[in-house]
């Protein structure tokens, strides 16, 4: 008994997988109806299920797959063209098969699932619009039309056959040849003997499940069509069984005869033959070009219990630790053989660890492959035209997580189709393409998998949403008033919003969103929504990679090591004590660092964690991180290493701290916490800076096509005047102590990196009058061809994009004009003139001194 159960179980697992593939194949096929390869793949899938179900005596399953297979074989052979109706019935067949499988899984039997409907539907669809019939069969088809009596008789018989067909299951292999024989008999004899033919048909039907195929066809002409399309298959079968060729061929011509007189006998035989044909055909098929590829895949994979993999994973972890101990001990030995062996062990253990970890990863496509079907069905149902696009389907995540996000993701997709994307008329009215686009995106980001469901629909109006929330008493007007539009959008995740009517009226979103949120949070993920009214909505899931391997930077802070996912890391900056003293400045109490002229807010990890740094030598190590579009520098004590780490979930208490995305075991066996860069940024950075940076980023990306010249450094020169200097002429920003300024003749110079740097004070140059008694001068260094000048300004303000600026021609000495930058009138510096004021020979004489000027300030 156990043995049989195993077989059934394997059959179920395999079939379920195949069905998922089938769903997406069928939808894809609709886009590309001529793909023989896809058709063959679908055909084989159904054929396999049919074969196994016959073997396991799941009769109804066999019956459904059999008709489906019939249609598919004709589609594949080009006798039928694929149209939406046919796709729909095929999908319906897939559903029925799935229902049967579910029933088998639950009860061990086929249960009460009714298959006659779908069998009838498929048969009908097969006959609806016959593809161009073979020429020799065409005339009889026409002849068959004026015989309404035969049609009625046929219908009655066919229906009675449906009832009988299910219990009467003969082995298909046996039934087919038998039928072929009978059929030949009919073909020769049937013409004069109408009642006899009818009787024989009934008898035959009892033996052939395929008889049900004909059930709903109302007109004899359809029967004829059916026969025609079947006939070539019979020929194929014959040619493959070689000896039968002449007989079958003549039969193809004769077969129309009984049909003309009485539709019944011909109909049931039609599907019976291909069945025999398929067996032979399938063999030849798999030997064809696309056959081996598929078989190779099937042969090269095996199914493994996930628990077993978990166990392996733990064992490998243990092995790695033991390995580490051995390697450490061996390092103290002198035996070269032992050392070599331990090195090999080292390598192998690492590779083994990696290999085992990869076994649990699956591409997200595994769950996405179901979605085209969902979108298609729902789209048809709602009469919306929707295109589904997928980006990053190869993004891998842990299998258990994959399972956990399947339902929430499906829900989000349904939501987008249902409520997000507008009806075609509405889209047209809004000036959008009639076809809505639903985009699924997946990518790894900061040790998480980010999955986005984006639509180009109507979007959500925060005002309306807020009003609804007020009405439902979910929050007070005061609280609403204080919320930003982005925060208001997140209200859709509140449980009170989950009633369909409430939200559909507002914006059409949020049905069951609280459930989605709960599910995502249950696996340690987050969900957020962004929307631009009129343009669309994006739902973003962030899912942790509990078991995923992430490249990370390990850093030390207050004696402990922490891992920072490398995806957030942009660069590392190391400043020695001397430089750090100058380079790290305070802006309103917050430390910043000028990274190539841009202000980089600094966050000290020790401050965030409430620890005291163990580094007292004044060195500053900055990890430049990017999170959700903002950039900041994390000050750590020391950078240790980069390594691939395995993310382990941490317990609930630690998750609640909201700073750690997990923990990992480092190479030497110590546990290190993984910093959640997003959370860190949220905690440490003020929103105001964020928004400014984001808007700056938005403009800069928009202007990317423009030249770099558009980026301007804004500086105050005293007297309330602001000057913009094209950024590409700026080499560095520096600070120079006033008392370091020396005089050479009537020019001011400063010693800088072993060279003499001529100085131009912009305030004097441009006739403004700034404070003169400052201790430290803000200097913009401009270098070209090995020569440098220092341009002194009062204060560096910002870096802006000059693109949107309004320019005017009002100019003055030393200026190119003026523009509105950052909502203020700003003068555009004539850099050349300013430089010449400092060093008249700058553009004419070749380099003399400052060699070091071009080397980077940063030790990266």
């Amino acid at each position: 008994m156990d043995g049989l159960d195993d077989i059934v179980e394997e059959f179920l697992v395999e079939s379920h997988e195949n069905l998922d593939q089938l769903d997406s194949d069928l939808v894809a096929l609709e886009q590309d109806p001529n793909s023989r390869e896809r058709l063959s793949s679908i055909f084989r899938t159904i054929h396999t299920i049919k074969g196994t179900s016959g073997f396991l005596a799941f009769n109804r399953l066999e019956e459904v797959t059999h008709v489906g297979e019939n249609m598919l074989s004709r589609l594949r052979d080009g006798e039928l063209a694929l149209n939406p109706t046919r796709t729909s019935v095929l999908l319906q067949m897939v559903d029925t098969v799935r229902a049967l499988l579910t029933s088998i899984e639950a009860s061990g039997g086929e249960g009460p699932v009714d298959v006659s409907g779908v069998v009838a539907a498929i048969s009908a669809a097969m006959e609806d619009h016959p593809a161009t019939p073979p020429t020799d069969a065409a005339p009889p088809a026409a002849a068959a039309i004026p015989s309404p009596r035969a049609a009625t008789a046929k219908k009655a018989t066919a229906q009675s056959a449906t009832a009988k067909a299910a219990p009467a299951k003969a082995a298909p292999a046996k039934a087919a040849p038998a039928k072929a024989a009978t059929r030949r008999g009919t073909a020769t004899k049937a013409a004069p003997a109408k009642p006899a033919a009818a009787k024989r048909t009934t008898a035959r039907k009892a033996a052939a499940p395929a008889a049900t195929v004909a059930a709903p066809t109302p007109v004899a002409a359809d029967g004829a069509a059916d026969l025609e399309s079947a006939a070539p298959v019979a020929v194929v079968a014959a040619s493959e069984t070689t000896h039968a060729l002449p007989t079958t061929h003549s039969e193809g011509a004769n077969a129309v005869m009984p049909q003309r007189t009485a539709g019944q006998p011909a109909v049931p035989t039609a599907p019976a033959l291909p069945m025999a044909a398929e067996a032979a055909e399938h063999e030849t098929e798999s030997a064809q070009a696309d056959g081996p590829a598929r078989r190779a895949v099937a042969d090269s994979t095996i199914r493994v219990d996930v628990d077993l993999l978990d166990e392996l994973m733990l064992l490998v972890g243990e092995l790695v630790l033991t390995r580490n101990q051995i390697v450490q001990n061996v390092a103290r030995q002198t035996d070269t053989d032992l050392i070599r062996a331990s090195q090999r062990l080292n390598l192998i253990a690492s590779e083994l660890q990696e290999g085992v970890m990869k076994t649990r990863m699956q591409p997200i496509d595994h769950i996405w492959s179901k979605l085209p079907r969902v979108v298609r069905d729902l789209g048809l149902q709602l009469k919306k035209s929707i295109r589904l696009e997928m980006e990053g389907r190869e993004t891998e995540l842990d299998k258990t997580l994959l399972e956990a996000v399947k339902d929430p993701l499906t829900h989000l997709v349904r939501n987008s189709v249902d409520h997000g994307i507008e009806a075609p008329e509405k889209r047209k009215a809004a000036g959008k393409p009639v076809e809505g686009v639903l985009t699924l995106r997946a990518r790894h980001e900061s040790g998480q998998v980010v999955v986005e469901v984006a639509d180009d629909g109507a979007g959500i109006d925060p005002a309306a949403l807020g009003a609804k929330a007020l009405e439902r008493g979910l929050l007070t007007a005061d609280a609403l008033h204080r919320m930003s539009p982005a925060d208001i959008l997140q209200l859709i995740f509140m449980p009170g919003f989950s009633t369909a009517a409430a939200v559909t009226n507002v914006s059409g979103r949020g049905v069951g969103m609280d459930v989605v949120k709960t599910n995502i949070e249950a696996i340690g993920g987050t969900i957020e929504v962004e929307s631009v009214p009129g343009e669309g909505t994006v739902c973003r899931l962030r899912i942790p990679l509990t078991l995923a391997i992430v490249p990370a930077l390990t850093v030390e802070c207050a004696g402990d090591r922490y891992a920072i996912p490398q995806i957030s890391l942009q660069e590392l900056v190391s400043l020695d004590a001397e430089k750090a003293a100058n380079a790290v400045e305070e802006v309103g109490g917050a430390p910043v660092y000028r990274l190539r002229g841009e202000l980089l807010p600094l966050v000290r990890l020790t401050d965030v964690l409430g620890l005291a740094s163990e580094r007292h030598d004044g060195h500053v190590v900055i990890a430049v991180l990017r999170s959700e579009g903002r950039r900041f520098g994390l000050v750590v004590d020391r950078v240790i290493n980069t390594e691939e780490i395995v993310v382990k979930a941490v317990g609930g208490q630690l998750k609640a701290i909201g700073l750690y995305s997990g923990a990992t075991v480092l190479g030497d066996g110590t546990v290190a916490l993984i910093l959640d860069v997003q959370a860190l940024a949220r905690r440490a950075l003020r929103t105001e800076t964020t928004e400014r940076q984001q808007s700056r980023e938005a403009t800069s990306s928009a202007a990317q096509a423009e030249t770099e010249r558009q980026r301007m450094l804004l500086a105050a020169i005293g007297g309330g005047r602001r000057v913009a200097i094209p950024l590409d002429t700026v080499t560095r920003l520096e600070q120079v102590r006033t008392d370091a300024v020396e005089k050479v003749g009537n020019r001011e110079v400063v010693q800088y990196r072993g060279a003499i740097l001529p100085i131009v004070r912009l305030d004097r140059h441009l006739g403004a009058y700034g404070e003169t008694d400052r201790e430290v001068l803000e200097v913009i260094v401009y270098a070209d061809h090995g020569r440098s000048v220092a341009i002194v300004v009062e204060e560096i303000l910002d870096i802006v994009d000059g693109e949107a600026a309004v320019r005017s021609d009002i100019d003055d000495l030393g200026l190119l004009g003026s523009a509105v930058l950052g909502e203020k009138v700003t003068e555009l510096l004539d850099v050349r003139a300013a430089i010449l004021a400092a060093d008249p020979a700058f553009y004419t004489s070749p380099a003399l001194a400052p060699e070091s000027a071009t080397t980077s300030l940063l030790e990266v």
Partner: protein, 153 residues
């Protein structure tokens, strides 16, 4: 933990069974032996900044990261004296491993429901929440720890 499961658990507690016992600040405590996965000597701990005080840190249990709860802190006892190492009891609850730091491990004791009594009234504060009751053994009291509550720091 709801009141219903409390009483249920207390009943289970009151019934006879085996307790793995350990010492903490001079007292004898016990946890149901079926929860105990293993006992380890002192392990390297990775501290977790900003975590609740009772979280002593994280330990590496053969590649698995396990949270360690300092039972002294949890029970409102003074910190372990300098120079003495804690013993780690790994318990498995709902399939998840958590570890408890205690002073030293003692025997596995068979207890009899008849010896069970509710926590003494003098027991106060945090500790009272975490102690199910006491088994009166020969010459000493065995305090039954509510391990579920103890780990939900």
């Amino acid at each position: 933990m709801s009141a219903a499961t409390d009483t249920e658990a207390a009943k289970a507690m009151a019934s006879s069974g085996q307790l793995a016992t350990f010492r903490l600040d001079g007292d004898l405590y016990g946890v149901e032996v079926e929860h105990v996965q293993e006992v380890l000597r002192s392990q390297g701990l990775t501290r977790v900044p900003l975590a609740p005080t009772a979280v002593a840190g994280l330990i590496n249990l053969r590649g698995q990261v396990v949270t360690a709860i300092e039972l002294r802190e949890r029970l409102g006892r003074p910190p372990r004296p300098e120079g003495t190492d804690a013993v780690v009891i790994v318990v498995r609850l709902h399939g998840e491993a958590v570890s408890l730091l205690v002073d030293s491990i003692a025997d596995v004791v068979d207890v009899d429901a008849a010896d069970f009594e509710a926590p003494p009234d003098t027991l106060e504060g945090q500790a009272r929440e975490l102690i199910r009751g006491a088994y009166k053994l020969d010459g000493k009291l065995l305090l039954a720890l509510d391990v579920h509550k103890a780990v939900s720091a």
